[in-house]
Symmetry: C3
Subunit: 300 residues, 3 copies
């Protein structure tokens, strides 16, 4: 069921699928912790095709493959590729599939990963296709919650910031719906969670930054370019900043997450708070991607 499977969209994952991945991620996490990772990918090659730069995603895929004893080829920037010669994405993927055993790709255009899966003879792991999907991010987010809070079932998650354009929060809604989460959407009016993602959810919606009742505070960046009027951006951005004062209102057993990179939306003074989990979250990207690689390669 997992062997040779493409990982394109979190929408393709059932609750059982997610639980499978989290169980294997926990295993990988433990291997890393103990420093005894089995060389499940020895002799295998991952191709990282990054048609747009994403250091975090690329490096964590590469670390994941290397931790499993495999190696990596690829490109991090389309400007140094045959794309300049107008090769299609499909042909670039076919080429990579001829050289490597599994492909992690990132692309600026929605749907690119699905297209790649149609022409690739090896499994495709979608590392983000434009505004569309970034399933490995969602899975590592889920693992972070599960690991740090002990469960995904029935948690209360507050999502803060740009909920309109944020691919990450959209996918997380889709996934957490399977675990009966309760949602609180905190954003400026202009950046509210679209109706399509709210369907079927138990949620409240507000412009007030009150996170006192949340188990998880998931923060995203508000980008200046979303606002026609710069003054309005300046006014709003300060309002949705997680600082020590905001954190002091949070429950003791709660966590702060962020897909990173952050700019100003979480103050540096928060980094040392034990509830700040965004760097651990980044770390969990490695065992999550190790699990996915090993699963689609039929190694576990």
């Amino acid at each position: 069921m997992w062997d040779r499977r493409h990982v394109i969209s979190i929408d393709d994952f059932s609750r059982e699928d997610i639980e499978d991945v989290l169980k294997n991620t926990a295993k990988m996490d433990e291997y890393l912790e103990k420093g005894n990772v089995p060389e499940l990918m020895k002799g295998k090659i991952l191709a990282t095709l990054f048609f747009e730069p994403s250091t975090r995603t690329r490096l964590s895929f590469e670390a994941a493959m290397q931790r499993l004893g495999g190696t990596v080829i690829g490109f991090s920037d389309p400007s140094a590729t045959s794309i300049k010669k107008k090769e299609t994405t499909a042909d670039t993927v076919r080429m990579a599939a001829a050289y490597a055993d599994v492909i992690a790709m990132r692309h600026p255009y929605p749907g690119a990963a699905k297209l790649a899966a149609q022409v690739s003879s090896v499994p495709i792991l979608n590392g983000g296709d434009g505004s569309n999907q970034h399933p490995t991010q969602t899975l590592l987010d889920l693992y972070t919650i599960k690991k740090e809070l002990g469960t995904l079932d029935g948690i209360k998650i507050a999502m803060v910031g740009d909920l309109k354009y944020g691919r990450t929060v959209h996918s997380l809604c889709t996934a957490l719906k399977l675990f009966d989460a309760t949602f609180k959407f905190i954003s400026p009016e202009q950046l509210r969670m679209p109706d399509t993602y709210k369907r079927g959810l138990t949620y409240e919606e507000t412009t007030e930054l009150d996170v006192s009742d949340a188990d998880v505070v998931y923060v995203t960046r508000i980008q200046a370019e979303r606002f026609p009027d710069p003054a309005e951006y300046e006014k709003l951005k300060g309002f949705y900043v997680i600082n020590k004062k905001v954190v002091s209102t949070m429950k003791e057993k709660s966590i702060i997450m962020h897909p990173l990179p952050r700019v100003d939306e979480i103050h540096y003074e928060v980094d040392s708070d034990p509830r700040a989990k965004y760097f651990k979250q980044a770390y969990y990207g490695v065992p999550t991607r190790m699990a996915l690689i090993a699963m689609v390669m039929g190694a576990i």
Copy 2:
């Protein structure tokens, strides 16, 4: 004879040399097929010095080295190198030879690989030096023909497209001459095969796209920039396109090859035809380069 040899130009290869490489390539191909490649390059480092980008060539050299258990350092783009500090190519090669055990390089200037061989203490594998030579491409082309048709001797090859500027077809002429091939050169008047490469060959020359008698149809891209008059390019380019209709006239036991990347010159509808071998050809780049690396490193 092979140990420490530089691979600079196909012109340096005798028929015996080529047969040596093809024999070892077949061995590597079989190892890959069976998934039991010996770690002939364990502990060894390949430096990929790409003074101009070439994703396909670079990735297949890197995959080749990794399949053999070796590792890779290098750069894919001169803009991120000391070249900006005006270091000479010779000094960059000397540096790489101090760090690595074998070097694959690509350079925009004809003769750069030969120069590199003069100063390098480790074997140089030319991955293309401007309009001059790209011997590993020629060797993988030869392996593709041998593997897919069973022999190189006496084949009839039709070369289609830009035969004037195409380094690939020039080198292939030189090599296939050693195997008594018969040639058909199909191109616009402006892009005919230069006389120097036709010397000593059995060939016919035409502007008509008739490939019905060919064992191999080798397609190359016609670049707009070769034509002073854009209208003329537009008129011609459509004429040398391999589509289903053209393929339907081909012999049943024949193959279509292309060095890739392609743009429009082979229609996508042809990809599923069993005679379309251009992606297998890309794949064969890996065992070919594995063989060459192992040979110049004295490992086989």
Copy 3:
């Protein structure tokens, strides 16, 4: 004492520290020579964070890690990273520390490596922070002298070229002071060694290129942009060139060094002289960085 240590500045190194590194470098050098390097870093990952390009330093760190059986992730150019999204260097380092076991970084801003050490959970190896420090270069320079001359104690070193802005020669002064070296500073008036580095040294200072009494001639590049008047640069640069004639005045048992890349300041005719050691010096970068990696990782 070495386990988990950050390597930020040569100023932090005692004579004993330097001797430790040189002893371990000699061991690594011998392993490389014999081709039996122990896999001390098997399963470990080095992150190379190059916020500005430096091919030589990056490739030699990567070769060092790979020679020890470890693997590498990283970036060679900030333009293809999240820095474009305004992520702070501190956050980029925290991310890399989540994925890798040790970090080698280069940064255009002085102090960046120290900042990185403050936030990183894994050892930082400074690969150059602007005009400030480049300790692995200094250590490989010291190893070169020790290996080629047999000792560091009481040597006479002539430093030639731009002594005002050259980070390399400044650090070498600091380090060699611990070994009672004698210095000769040879430069144009405008590019004299700053007083702060001369403090406590036994030295002479001159504009004349007389290197007849030196054990080590350490050459650096004079950059045109240091001179407001281009004509003055043109006049001076030819004066500080090491050519065959200059070399003929040198002691028989002496060596010529250069941190590379060179442009014109050492003539190519000198390369074949047995005293020309700048390419061996580049080579020694590998065992030096192997030693440092193994030491801060607690593997030796």
